[in-house]
Amino acid sequence: MQLIVNIVVLAAIYALISCGYVLVYRVSHVLNLAHGELMMVGAYLLLTTAWLFAGNPIVAIAVALGLSLTVGVLVYVFLMRKMTGEMVLAAVLTTVALGILLRGLIVLVWSAQQQYPAQALSFTNAAIELPGGGRISTFAGILVLVTATTYALMFAFLRFGRWGVRMRAAGQNPLLAAQRGVSLHAVYALAWSLSTLTGSMAGMLIALDSGLDSTMAVIGLKAFPAALVGGLDSLVGALVGSLIVAGAEVLAIHYIDPLLSDVVPFLVLIAMLAVRPWGLFGTREELDRV
């Protein structure tokens, strides 16, 4: 039972992070390898607002969410905007550079030591007994709920929302979308900000649950196999992929070796790439050449 709870929690973490990968990839066909770092920035923003508004956790969280939304827009406006229309690989390498830069900046600004935003906000993280004998920490439970809500909203938004339709259109055929009056830059900026927002929410909740230090980016990178296993341009795929990767990881940790946790997602990724590179639910695309 505990095993299942662990899998669900980990899958929720991966799903919440990987929907950021999926959003950006689906809309602009750019793979954002700085997503883990952006997520970490979100978590550290929460830490800062927690210091600023120590008495008001709600305000702190709201301000941090707003700031991380802004970070996403800024990243697009000042960096990725220049890469629109360039080679996809150039854009991907730009995000790699951005990730390294952010990692350095975070250590400079917030230092590398372990931090506990939950303490700064004076939250307690009690364990909740679940029917059936499992235990789950409060924030892990909230994380599962947030993930479910995020995905429900995201599906509704992409399906029915005016901007959601525009985003899908831009992803399918940018030229045609632009000719029909869709502002590509606005759509891309929206995708980046939403992706950073969801990533930051994941980062904040993980930080509230288990503390925060500069190795958090690794979690973000581990969520990437989840996105790819499901198919980089499919939200359903991201959910399923997260379940698969999280399942494999938790089982490997439980039955084989705890150290495997960092490598299992990538082994799954390699296996997937060998069999079906475009993922379980992804559209099979003409793999572009270098």
Binding site: L31, V96, L287, V290
Partner: protein, 258 residues
Amino acid sequence: MSKLMPRASGYFRTDYKCDLALAETRLQRVSLSIFIVALAVFPFFASPFHLDIACQIFLAAIGSLSLMLLTGYAGQISLGHAGLLAAGAFTVGILFRETHAPFWVTLPAAALVGGFLGIIFGLPSLRLRGLYLAISTLALHFVVVYLGGEYETKRGFSTGISIDPPQIFGRALTSNRAWYFILLIFAAATLLICVNLLRSRTGRAWGAIRARETVAEALGIDVARYKLLAFVISSAMTAVAGALFAYYRGFVSVEALL
């Protein structure tokens, strides 16, 4: 060989000797020799800090030359070269810790390990292209780093493996100046190897594969073989760079190489 050769237009290499020459015009020859002399006397004037920077430049040069071969000429993207660097460093660290092997054993061993990993890194390239290939090399990078970390924790070197400076002619190689020359020689050798590879049959095959794979195959180039060859050569070079890095720093750890 004394005739002057204008390079701006046309192809003037009329005999085999011209084709072999590394520097064709007088200007090139003069500037090349000035550069070599400058490199040779630099360590006698530079401060230790500048020497350290120069050594790191040489190490980075070896690594980037190997990546240039693979990505620039053969057109195969790799995001996993940091993992190969780590593999080279760990080969040295492990061999040194377990068997106290001297450096003339560990360096070739690192190259061998690198070459072998190159085959593994290269296998996805037979099926995948572009972005997806880059991702698969990134994944392998994590696998390699994990294996290194596993060794560290299992053997109890959780903070990293320290390595004694290599012995050459019975003397420990510790001074920055000696390191400068060693690394200079390695970097220059790498450069020569790359230049010569690229104007050989292999280099032309890589260029053809990068330009258009189907056409390359139609021209009779064994695409799979040359792709793997590019990965093997590039990975072996990177691993040697990693091994040299390990000796230069005297220390190997997962964290330092991420």
